[in-house]
Amino acid sequence: MPAGRIKDHWGEQRLFEMRALVAGTLMVLLTFTLLGRLFLLQVVHHEYYADLSQGNRVRTEPIPAARGLILDRNSEVIAGNQPAYQLELVPEEVPDLRGTLKALVALELIRAEDVDELMRTIKSRRTFDSVPIRLRMSDEDVARFAVRRFEFPGLDIKTRQTRFYPSAGLAVHALGYVGAISETDLERIDRAAYAGTTLIGKLGVESAYEPQLHGTNGFRELLVNAQGRSVERQGAFIPNLRTKAPASGDDVLLSIDLKVQRVAETALAGHRGAVVALDPNTGDVIALVSLPGFDPNMFGRGITAAEYSVLRDDVDKPLLNRAMRGTYPPGSTVKPVIALAALTYHMVDPEQRKYCAGSFHLPGSAHMFREYHNEHHGYVDLDDAIVRSCDVYFYGLANTIGVDRISTFMAPFGFGKPTGIDISGERPGLLPSRAWKAKAFTRAADQMWFPGETVNFGIGQGYLNVTPLQLAHYAGIMATRGKVWKPRLIAGLRDPQTGEIHRLPPVSGGDVTGVTPEDWARVVHGMIGVTTHGTAAAIGAKAPYPFAGKTGTAQVFTVAQNDRYNAKKLDERLRDHSWFIAFAPADAPRIAVAVIQENGGAGASAAAPIARKVLDAYLLGPDGKLKPAEAATQTFHDQPAPRAPEKIAQPLAPEATTQVPAPGTTTQPSAPDSTAQPPAVPPAEKPASTAVPPVPQVRSTSARQKQAA
C-alpha cells in the first residue's frame, strides 16, 4: 500500500460518477451504432436480403415431361416409356465427388472406367441439378445402395420414366436410340429446358424429332432447409409454392409398317445387308432394315464401355446404318435408268438387236469388258438387255451416251446426293462425271476421264456409289414414272393430351421431267420382264400381282483379266454384293424396294427372294390375295401413251459441250430436232452454246412414230 495516500471517499465517489457518466454516454453511442447497422441491414438493404432469403428456402425441382411415344403406321408402339430406378446425384450436396464415385465403384454400382466421364458430365451440369449417374438399376442394385445410403450425402434413388423399346433391335437404325445426355449434347440444347431430363435422342427418329418428343418439363417449388431437404412447412407456417405441370412430348407416328419390317429383318437375318421399302406415291418409308443391328435398350439403361467396344469393334459393324450410310456400287440395277437415258437422248433404237459375244472391247484397246459369268446372250434388243441383264449391250450403250450425259440424266433420280430423308446421317453416295473426276483427284493423270470408265458406268461399276436408300428411292421414281417424293419416316405427330393428329404432307423432291411416257413404259416393261422370264424369273413366278424388278451384282473383288469369278473359291467377304430393286404392283405401284445382301453373290439368288417376301408382306392380305389399293395410290397403264411432243429432260441443260462420242461408235450427230430442244434456247445459238449440246440421235423420227402407233 503506497504511503502518504489517504482514501478520499468523496473524491472517489465523484470520480466514479464521472466515469459512469462517460460510460453511459459511450453505451448510448454504441447502441446507436448498433441501431444504425440494423437500419442499414433491415431497411436500406432489406430487398437484397429478402431476395437472398427467398433463394435460400425455395428450390425449384424440375418435373420431367414424359417422352413422346413412337408408333408405326398401325399404331404399334416401337418406343415407349417404362418406370425404372436410377441413382441420381446433386453435385453441391456431395462433399467429395471423386471419393463418392470411387465408393460407388466399390459397391459395383458404377464402373471404374466410367468415373472420369461421369466427373466431366457432373461438372458440366448446374450444381443444384440432380444428375443421373446410374440408370436402370436392378432391385439388387437398389438394395445394395439402400443399406449404405447414409454414407452418400447428395445421392438418392429416384423412380423415373426411361425409354423402352419393346421390340429391342427392330428398326433400330431408323429409330435411333436415346442415351444419357453427354457433354456434346449439352452444347446444343437449352440446359434449363433439359433440367430433370435424363435421356436424349442420339440418332435416327429419336434424334431428328428430339424437340417434339422431349416435351416441356414442368417444375415444382419446394421449401428446403439448409441441408437441401424438402420440408413441408417452416415453423408454424405453410408457404404458398408454385407448381407447373409438365407437358408430354408429342407422339411420333412413323410411316414404317412393323409387320413388313419384321418380315424383312427375318428374311435378311444372318446376313449383312439392308432393305429399304417405301411408298413411291408419298415417299413414306415402309421398312428400313440394316443388319446386323443392336438393342437400343442398352443405351437407355447406360451402355457399359465393354458392351460398347464390342459393338464398335465388331467386324460386321452393327452400329453402321447400312441402309443410309452404306455405299456400294449399284451394279446392274442402274441399267433401267441408263436405258431411259439412251431413249431420252435418242441414242438407241430399242428395237435394234445387237450381238453379245460375252465380252466388249473399246476400239483400239485390248482390255476386255466381260459378261457376268461369261455368258453369251447372242442377239439382244433393249428389252432383252434389261430382262437378261446383258452387260455387253449396256457397255456399248454407255459408251454411246457418254459419261456426262448419263451423270446429268441420273442426277434427278437421286444419285450422288442425299435423298432428303427426314433423319440425319444419310450419305450422298457418288455420281461420277468428268467435272467430278477433275476435282476429286490431284494428279493430272488421274484427273482425266477414261472411256473405259464410261463403259463400266453402264453396268453400275466403277466410281458410281449408292446407298440402299438411294436405290429404293430410284426404284420408286421408276415406279411412279418420274414422280419424286423425299423419303420420310415420320408421317405425323400426335398430341398426347388431345389425341389430335397432325399429319405431315409428303415433300416433293422435284419430278423427273422430259422422259416420254412410252420410254417409261418401255423400260418398265423390261423390268417386268426381269421378274417373268428374266434374271429374277424364279422369284417372280406365281406372284399374285405383276411386279417390276432388276437384279444387280456389285463387285467387291476385281477378277483378273483371264480368270473366272468363282464364288466358292473366294473368301466369303470378297464375294459380290447381291442387289435387287423392285416395285409392285407394276401397273399401280404401292411399294418400291431395294435390297442388298453383302457378299450374297448374284442379285437373283440372294437379294431378290428377300424383296419378294417384303412385297408379299405389304401387298397381300391374310388370304394370300392382293389387298385392295388405298384411294391415294396412283395408277399407271403401261400401254404406250399417245405420242406427245418430245421434250428434253430439264437436267440435260448443263451438259458439257466438250462431250465427244467415244471414237469408233456408229453414232453421228444429226441435225438437232427442234422439238427436242428446251424452248428457252433458240436454235441459232446451239453450235456455240455452252449450255445445250447437240443431241445425237440413232433413231429416225419416223421409226419412233411407227412404234408409237
Binding site: P2, R5, G11, L41, A226
Partner: protein
Amino acid sequence: MIYEEISTGSRTRRTLTGAARVLFELNVDGPLVVGLALIAVYGLIVLYSASGQNVDTIVRTVVRLGLGTIAMLVLARVNPNFLRRTTPWLYAIGIILLFIVAAVGHIGMGAQRWLNLGIVRFQPSELMKLAVPMMCAWYLHERALPPSFVSLTLLGALILVPVGLVAVQPDLGTAALIAIAGALVIVMAGLQVRIMAIFAALAGIGAWFGWSFMHDYQRKRVLTFLDPQTDPLGAGYHIIQSQIAIGSGGVFGKGWMNGSQAQLEFLPERSTDFIFAVIGEEFGLLGLGLLLLLYMFVVGRSIFLAMQTQDTFARLLAGSLALTFFVYVFINAGMVTGLLPVVGVPLPLVSYGGTSVVTLLAGFGILMALYSHRKLVSS
C-alpha cells in the same frame, strides 16, 4: 370523477407499495427485476421459435432461469461485507478449478471447459466472470484511487492468470469477457486516461502476438470477420446467413415462427449465439429495438444502483457488473450484425444453454445486495 381517479390511483399505489415492500424485504430492486423478467420472457418466446418449437429446450431454460433467480435472491440477501471477505477465497477456488479443468477437463463442445461434478457439469470459467471483478474490487477497496502503478501490476496479474487459463481451454470469448470485467473495475476506479492509451497500444502489440498463438479456427474467424464473402460456405457462412436473416426481417419482421432462415436451419446456432438474428428476422427492426431498449433500461438502472452504493468495493463491483452486461449485449449484437468478429458470446438472458444465465442472475443478485445493504456498510 376526481374521487374515482384518486380511488383507482390509490388502489394501484397500494398494490405497488405492497409489492415494493415485498421486494424490499427480499433486498431486491423492483425496476431491475422487472427489466430482467421482461428480457427473460421475451427470450423464452423467441427461443420457442428458434429452437424449432422444442418444448424441452424451453423447460430446460426455465429451470436454468429458476436456478439463476434463486442464486439472485440468495445473493441479494448476503451482506456485502461478508461477500467482500470471502472474495479472495472464491477467487482462489476458481483458479484451482481452472487448473483442474486444464488438467483433467471433460471434453465438451470440442474444447475443455467443463468440470463434471457427477450430476451437474460445471464451468469454472463462469465463476471467474464474477470472481475476477470481485477480486479487483476487493483489492482496490482499501487503497487510494486512482490505483498506483504497483497496484495496476498486481491487478494485471490477478486478471491475466484466470484469463490465460480460460484462453488455453480454448475459450477466447469467455476469456475476453473475464478480462473486460476485471478491466472495467480498474477503469471505474479512475484509471488515468494516459495509462489507458498505453494499454491500448500494448493491446495492439498483444493482438499481433496473440495472432501467432491462435488456433487456425480462431484465425479464420478473425479473417472471415474482415471479409465474410471470402468463404461463404465455410467460416463466412455464419455471418452471411445471420445478415440475410436480419436484413430479410425488415422493419416488422416475418412474424413469430415464420423466419425461414431460422426455421429452415440456414442460420447456424440459431438458438444459442445467433438468436439475435432470429429476433431480427421474425420481429424485425422493431423487435430488436425493443430488446435493446430493455437492455439499456437494465444497464441504466444497474449503473444508477452502482452510483447509490457507498463504499469502494460495492461501487466498483456494481459498476463493473453493469458495464459487463452491456459489453455482453454489444459483443453479441455486433457479432451477429457483422460489426464485430464472430466470438462465442451468448446474448445475455436470451441465448439458450450453459450456466451463463445462472452467472448473470447471480451477478445481478450481488449488485442488488450491494445496493440494498448500503446503509449497513461500514467503511
